[in-house]
Symmetry: C2
Subunit: 160 residues, 2 copies
Amino acid sequence: MAQSPIRPTDDQARALARDLLANARHAALAVLHPDTGAPFVSRIALGLTPQGQPMTLISSLALHTRALRAAPGCSLLVGDPPAKGDPLAFPRLTVTATARFIDRATADHAALRDHYLASHPKSKLYADFADFSFVAFAPISAALNGGFGKAYDLTPDDLT
Amino acid sequence: MAQSPIRPTDDQARALARDLLANARHAALAVLHPDTGAPFVSRIALGLTPQGQPMTLISSLALHTRALRAAPGCSLLVGDPPAKGDPLAFPRLTVTATARFIDRATADHAALRDHYLASHPKSKLYADFADFSFVAFAPISAALNGGFGKAYDLTPDDLT
């Protein structure tokens, strides 16, 4: 079992990865802890930008927000397994990305805000609070695991 | 909203954290990518050691395994939201930990193996393959989020 476990990317793998991203309402976000530099993982809400990149709405009270401001390199995991069955038998996607805080004073902000709130209407309750920020994630690469032994390395273009 | 969002730890918070760990069949594991040093998050199977620490069974073919061998500092997220409802309204736990690979030639290995396989009987199919390793996670700290605004910082003792 020493051979590479990575399969050649095909259209089925691309479609699965896009599907996982499009259907994700939340993600596990890995950042560098701003005090220790150690990995730190937490849950965030997830949506897509009009261009199909992952995006979120986060509070400056959360550690992950302070972490992303200090070091924007991060990683997102999407794809929930069902409650029953071996969780590793179900597909999931890791996206390695750079986080970009969306400046409130830009036209970009208005477009992303409206797009996000269309899919997350309840977030209107706090989206405009001063301590909340929209963040878009620019993918660098992605690792798709379609279930035991079905692993693919994807490019940003494979995701959109 | 500039005050600390962290509440004083109470028995209810400890019980919730232990419950999230005990019921987790999988976790999001954040590591440092061994080539880039960037955060990387992926899914692993999860169980508990006889002492109540998180543990897993991972393949050397997986990137997270190579990462933990290079840098054992890591972070685990447990607590799945249900399919319906706002995913951020449901409790989850981040455990910051140090990973320890369990040497196959030790009595510790036999005890951890048997305990893990009792709760994960299907893993018997591959637990003894040469490229699989049991890994125990020694908690350093934990962050419990019991839902919007209900955040607690926990110690390792709070978890067991």
